[in-house]
């Protein structure tokens, strides 16, 4: 390829990545109004409001804002989580909403930074996939990541779960670019991105483990190549320069990462060591939450070891998982064949056309998946957020899926070429560089996109056909919802049913600040008050979680009925329902 052609291709890829990112952000913005606010969002709204006041103070009186009392007061709120993403929420609210009124409702301004980061990782996966395995692989990987129902759900939220996916992937990408391209820039960027990841969420702690394990693998590979085992290796080792580049990236991550964390998290500016220690210990000793799995409520160790694996199979579209397996097999075939021949006592000879992947891309992607799932091999790991805790593995899963799809398209093209004399249609199809990929891509993407679109706004209730969809998940006893976010789905009912003089609603699992944001956004009438006790309330909301069923029974006795006045849910599966007093029921002619 000419230098000019290379630039054109790079610009084209950048344009495609940007289009994917922008398209995803627009999709998220257009669908966010259907989604209530999750518990944790409520707490992050509070933190962002506190941070926002500090940012405004910083602009008006920098000296006073930087004094310890002001810093500690602003950043002590929710200091069990780092500040970067909450700072973005705050900056978005202060500058984009309060000053420029860019959003229809205030809540969107807090959610916007996480949406942008969600779009960013979709674009990044396209770029990485394209650079490593070609455009078909990159585009497929990006689409399959975007069309994971759970990822799509979390991508809406003013939380850290999708932002850490982005930061984690970005850090791994910069490490990979360091290996592939060398120089100073990419190791520095790897260090910077690791710092940003550290300041996003504690899943970032796994990133240097994955990169370090990869670096070690390259070393072992090189050492083995120099021994008698060397001729048996089916893939040549990375050259010494690549390994030195990897070391440089790891050093940069070790030096820059913590520095960036402290620099961008003002809570750590004072009493740094004890506060870092407090933060680390909080997450190492995280309390156990309740989680239903296969009809049993787990609330203390030992937690089920099969949780992460089964939930991945039950929530990631099956065709995506199969393509991941195809990609893994295709990319690993040299190793598999080599090991097979070695076991058979035969010498392995490298095919001349086998390219040397100096950056050890497949090994890196695989390690990024395994490291992100590794925590769930321990029955002591708390499960408190469903699938979101290993969502950092999903970009790499999608990248393998993209590679798998690229291989399948390659096989299709080869077969079409062989069959080109059979008919004119086949001949034209075989001659097209894009037609097989587009037709097969449409068939592959149809289910993930449909499942994702139809899962909204019930993302946490969504299950793939592999387990029978939402109903199958409910029958299997898999968690139907958590975080109390589904309140948004009953807002219209409450607005319609509450008497003109107002009403009180027991809001159950909805966090107070999340309810307040629904009011401020105008999504619930301002004369409808959220209350913390069913007793005396006009309405009682119940978000279904197995361990919360006692809450539903509180409604029965308080309202004197077992008949829900309203049920919201996905594909006939109840997720949230509302009880009402006899007085309200009579107002609307509802029987009991």
């Amino acid at each position: 390829m000419t230098r000019n052609g290379g630039w054109k291709r790079s610009l084209g890829d950048a344009a495609i990545a940007l289009s994917l990112a922008l398209g995803y952000v627009v999709w998220l913005l257009r669908t966010t109004k259907d989604l209530g606010y999750a518990r944790d969002e409520g707490f992050y709204f509070q933190a962002a409001q506190s941070y926002g006041r500090w940012f405004e103070a910083l602009l008006t009186d920098r000296h006073a804002a930087l004094a310890r009392p002001a810093v500690d007061a602003a950043f002590s709120v929710n200091h069990e989580h780092p500040a970067l993403i909450k700072s973005l929420f705050a900056l978005s609210s202060v500058f984009l909403q309060k000053r420029h009124h860019l959003f229809a409702v205030e809540g969107d301004s807090y959610r916007f930074p996480a949406m942008v980061l969600a779009g960013g990782v979709v674009g990044l996966v396209y770029v990485w996939g394209t650079q490593a395995r070609g455009r078909v692989a990159g585009l497929t990987a990006a689409v399959l990541l975007a069309a994971m129902p759970r990822f799509f759900f979390h991508a809406h939220l003013a939380c850290f779960d999708v932002p850490i996916v982005t930061m984690w992937t970005l850090g791994a990408y910069m490490y990979w670019r360091s290996l592939r391209d060398g120089g100073v820039l990419f190791p520095l960027l790897a260090g910077l991105c690791f710092g940003l990841a550290l300041d996003t969420k504690h899943n970032s702690w796994f990133l240097p483990i994955a990169c370090g394990a990869h670096f070690l693998a390259l070393q072992v590979w090189a050492i083995l190549a120099r021994t008698r085992v060397g001729p048996l290796l089916p893939v040549p080792p990375a050259p010494g320069t690549t390994r030195r580049r990897g070391f440089a990236a790891l050093v940069a991550m070790a030096l820059l990462g913590p520095a960036v964390l402290v620099a961008l998290w003002p809570w750590l500016w004072h009493d740094t060591v004890p506060r870092v220690r407090e933060y680390v210990l909080f997450h190492l000793n995280h309390e156990y939450y309740n989680m239903e799995f296969l009809g049993k409520n787990y609330w203390a160790a030992p937690m089920p070891r099969g949780y992460a694996w089964l939930m991945t199979a039950a929530t990631v579209p099956t065709v995506t998982l199969v393509l991941f397996a195809v990609g893994l097999a295709v990319r690993g075939r040299l190793w598999l064949v080599g090991v097979g021949r070695w076991l058979a006592g035969k010498r392995v000879t490298l095919r001349a056309e086998t390219p040397v992947d100096a950056a050890g891309t497949d090994v890196l992607w695989l390690l990024c998946i395994l490291i992100n799932y590794a925590a769930w091999l321990s029955p002591g790991t708390p499960i408190f957020g469903g699938t979101k805790h290993w969502m950092t593995a999903y970009p790499f899963l999608a990248l393998f899926a993209g590679a798998g799809f690229s291989a399948v398209v390659g096989a299709a093209r080869a077969e079409l070429f062989r069959s080109r004399r059979r008919s004119a249609i086949v001949r034209r199809f075989a001659a097209s560089s894009w037609a097989p990929a587009v037709v097969m891509g449409a068939a592959v993407a149809a289910a993930p996109i449909t499942e994702t679109v139809r899962s909204h706004p019930w993302g946490l209730s969504s299950y793939t056909p592999l387990v029978g969809g939402a109903a199958g998940g409910a029958s299997l006893g898999l968690n139907r919802t958590f975080w109390g976010y589904a309140t948004g789905a009953v807002a219209d009912f409450l607005d319609r049913e509450a008497p003109p003089q107002g009403a009180s609603v027991y809001i159950h699992d909805t966090a107070g600040p999340a309810w307040d944001m629904l009011l401020r956004d105008g999504r619930i009438r301002k004369d409808i008050r959220g209350v913390w006790s069913i007793a005396g309330a006009d309405f009682g909301i119940y978000h279904h979680e197995m361990h919360m069923l006692g809450q539903e029974y509180q409604n029965w006795v308080a309202f004197g009925t077992v008949r829900p006045a309203y049920i919201g849910g996905l594909d006939g599966v109840p997720v949230i329902w509302v009880y009402e007093t006899e007085r309200i029921a009579a107002l609307h002619g509802h029987g009991r």
């Binding site: 109903a471 007793a535 006692g550 109840p574 029987g591």
Partner: protein
């Protein structure tokens, strides 16, 4: 022909099959309109005294919303178990059946749209002579404490108290109120058992000392006195509380004692009534006590049969 020549087609076909399967599974459960449409068939099939059970259990709220309290009263929905019912109507969707009615004989079946209605006969029906929870109000019952002697007065308009998120069950407006705070009352409520199933029972939080005694008058007796006791599982599962003793006395004779330890769950008890069996009008006392009353959210139900 090479066998794997067309293997690449498996991937797009899998994608299309997943798409078709998604819509198939999504359309299988009944909509709210379909639930409403099955109500007349349920009314025709369910006879007085039949238990109505929905399968799978996750569809229960949809069934309750459509069928209402008349067809699915709290007493049945939060039943202690199914033994007292001579017949049950299972309203089933998606081909699922409840294990609670396993072994019951199918008398009839009827398909209505997406629903299968099966009327089932209990292979070992029992006759409940007297349900104590149904009679936990004056003039059938009174409540007192023993140390110090106190009387718990009956009210029909006490302020309803609910524990909220993770809190105690709701205390209804109709209850016996005892001195010492809102926890000390006897009233009909519903707790979540170890499988988080609803259990209608008599809240009977013991005092710091002595017994809280619920006494029933003029009780016709069967051969045995049978019941269950437990605590809201969120409390009980911590296994941190003191044991709770339930003593049952008939006309002053202790006929049985059940000790409930945290972790026992919704635990059954059964006492032979011996010489009292078949009495036309006995006085029956349920006395609850504990050596340490912290978080002793004890709730029991009983009948004589």
């Amino acid at each position: 022909m090479r066998p794997l020549r067309y293997a690449f087609l498996a991937i797009p076909l899998l994608g299309l099959a997943e798409l078709a399967a998604h819509f198939w599974f999504a359309k299988r459960p009944p909509t709210s309109d379909e639930w409403a449409a099955v109500v007349p068939a349920v009314r025709q099939t369910k006879l007085d005294g039949d238990l109505l059970v929905v399968s799978p259990a996750w569809a229960d709220p949809a069934a309750r919303s459509a069928l209402g309290d008349a067809l699915m009263p709290l007493r049945d929905v939060a039943r202690p178990d199914a033994t007292r019912y001579p017949h049950a109507l299972e309203l089933s969707i998606l081909g699922e059946h409840t294990s609670e009615l396993a072994g019951w004989r199918e008398e009839s079946r009827r398909v209505e749209g997406k629903f299968l209605l099966r009327r089932l006969e209990n292979p070992s029906p029992v006759h409940v002579v007297y349900d104590f929870v149904d009679h936990a109000r004056p003039p059938f019952a009174d409540v007192r404490g023993t140390e110090p002697p106190t009387v718990c007065g009956w009210t029909t308009h006490a302020p309803i108290v609910a524990g909220g998120l993770g809190g105690h069950p709701t205390f209804p407006a109709e209850r016996f109120e005892c001195p010492g705070g809102s926890y000390f009352n006897v009233g009909v409520t519903v707790i979540a058992d170890e499988e988080f199933r609803p259990r209608r029972c008599l809240w009977s939080h013991p005092f710091a000392r002595g017994e809280i005694v619920t006494r029933f008058h003029q009780v016709p007796l069967g051969r045995v006195l049978r019941g269950h006791g437990g605590l809201y599982w969120i409390i009980e599962r911590k296994k941190a509380g003191a044991p709770i003793t339930l003593t049952v006395r008939v006309d002053g004779d202790t006929v049985g004692t059940a000790v409930h330890r945290d972790g026992d769950g919704w635990a059954p008890f059964q006492f032979d009534l011996g010489a009292h069996a078949g009495a036309a009008a006995a006085e029956v006392e349920f006395a609850v006590s504990t050596p340490s009353y912290n978080e002793r959210h004890f709730c029991f139900e009983a009948d004589t049969r």
